[in-house]
Amino acid sequence: MRNVKMILAATLMLGASVANADKLSDFKDAAGTNGCQSIPYSDLRSSCTSEQSQVHEYCDGRQGPVTCGSESITRQLKDNLDREKKRVETLKEKKRNLEDQKSHATDDSEKNGLAREIEQVDKDIYEGGKRVDQAIADLDTRKKLVDDTIYTINKCIDYRRAVMNVFATALDKVRGENDEDIKPLARQLRDKYEEGKRGHEIAITDKKNAQDNCRESRP
């Protein structure tokens, strides 16, 4: 019975020692590299890699547009639509005046001349209407781009935050490491994670600014 206990204790000690050696090896590997691979915990490392692949999907433009350009593009399109609508209104007013003149005209040549003018104005109104339709279509296209971009950037920000949070969790864990062999490596990693926080924050701020820009660009 005593022998069995001793064998069991020895097995447990050996198991713990192997686990510790594996953990130390993970920390050594992590300290010598960068990116998600600089995380010594396999579960977090895997989360980081998986979230980062989504960052690429949404921030690189594979899933949709990532920039709205300038807010002034929307203003120009709106101004263009207003301008074209006003032109058509002016033409319609002109047509009404011509029809009024024609109804009061006494001789045939004047009536014929006014009729030709009205015919030309009708053509201009038709062309103006087509330009209004085009301006509306352009504005709709712009609206779609802006809405699609807001959606994509939103996802991009979510995944960037997720990656940053993985490193924040890893930071908490390395701070809690007590093993004497691991401590120096954990300190190295802690410093690196702390220093790297700004980079993640800048990337998120960039996307937030881009999203604000898009919101301002909504027609």
């Binding site: 960068n34 994670y193 790297g196 990337a203 881009a210």
Partner: protein, 167 residues
């Protein structure tokens, strides 16, 4: 392309040396957690800025917040050139405005005071002038947009000192 854009690109080429980039240390302590550090380093290793895959580098503008100062300067001309050529549609425009804006004291914005200080101290006068000219041209192209306004603010706050005399 407008003639001013052509002049700006020539100015960028003249200011930033066309030398091979040593990728070691590109992402030092500050950049360890940049998830694309390894592929980005592979992209820049041994190439001059003019030889870089412009599309890849511009798409990875998030690297600018993680790069060591020396490497940030080595790739900066790629982003400046994209700003000249693509204007507000450059995917890197917003990031460039963030890192080229001097952070407000007491606020943790952009590269931070120390990071921004290191950047501008390491740039040569010719390089600072190139940055100033690009910011000015960009702000003039987008006077009412938020990006153009950000460029003008960065210029007014810091870079305008380096505009060529008489301009």
């Amino acid at each position: 392309m407008q003639s001013n854009d052509v002049r700006l690109i020539e100015q960028i080429h003249s200011a930033f040396p066309n030398e091979p980039i040593e990728s070691d240390g590109a992402f030092g302590k500050v950049g360890t957690t940049y998830p694309d550090a390894t592929p980005y380093m592979k992209q820049i290793a041994g190439k001059s800025w003019a030889q870089l895959d412009r599309e890849y580098i511009v798409r990875r503008s998030d690297a600018l917040g993680f790069l060591a100062t020396r490497h940030l300067i080595a790739v900066l001309p790629v982003y400046l050139r994209a700003l000249v050529e693509d204007g507000v549609w450059s995917p890197a425009a917003g990031m460039l405005m963030l890192i080229l804006t001097r952070p407000v004291r007491g606020k943790h914005t952009g590269l931070g005071r120390a990071g921004f200080g290191a950047l501008v101290e390491t740039l040569t006068d010719e390089q600072r002038a190139a940055v100033a000219c690009v910011l000015r041209a960009f702000s003039e192209k987008d006077p009412d947009g938020s990006l153009g306004k950000a460029a003008r603010a960065a210029l007014e706050d810091y870079w305008k000192t380096y505009l060529p005399a008489g301009e």
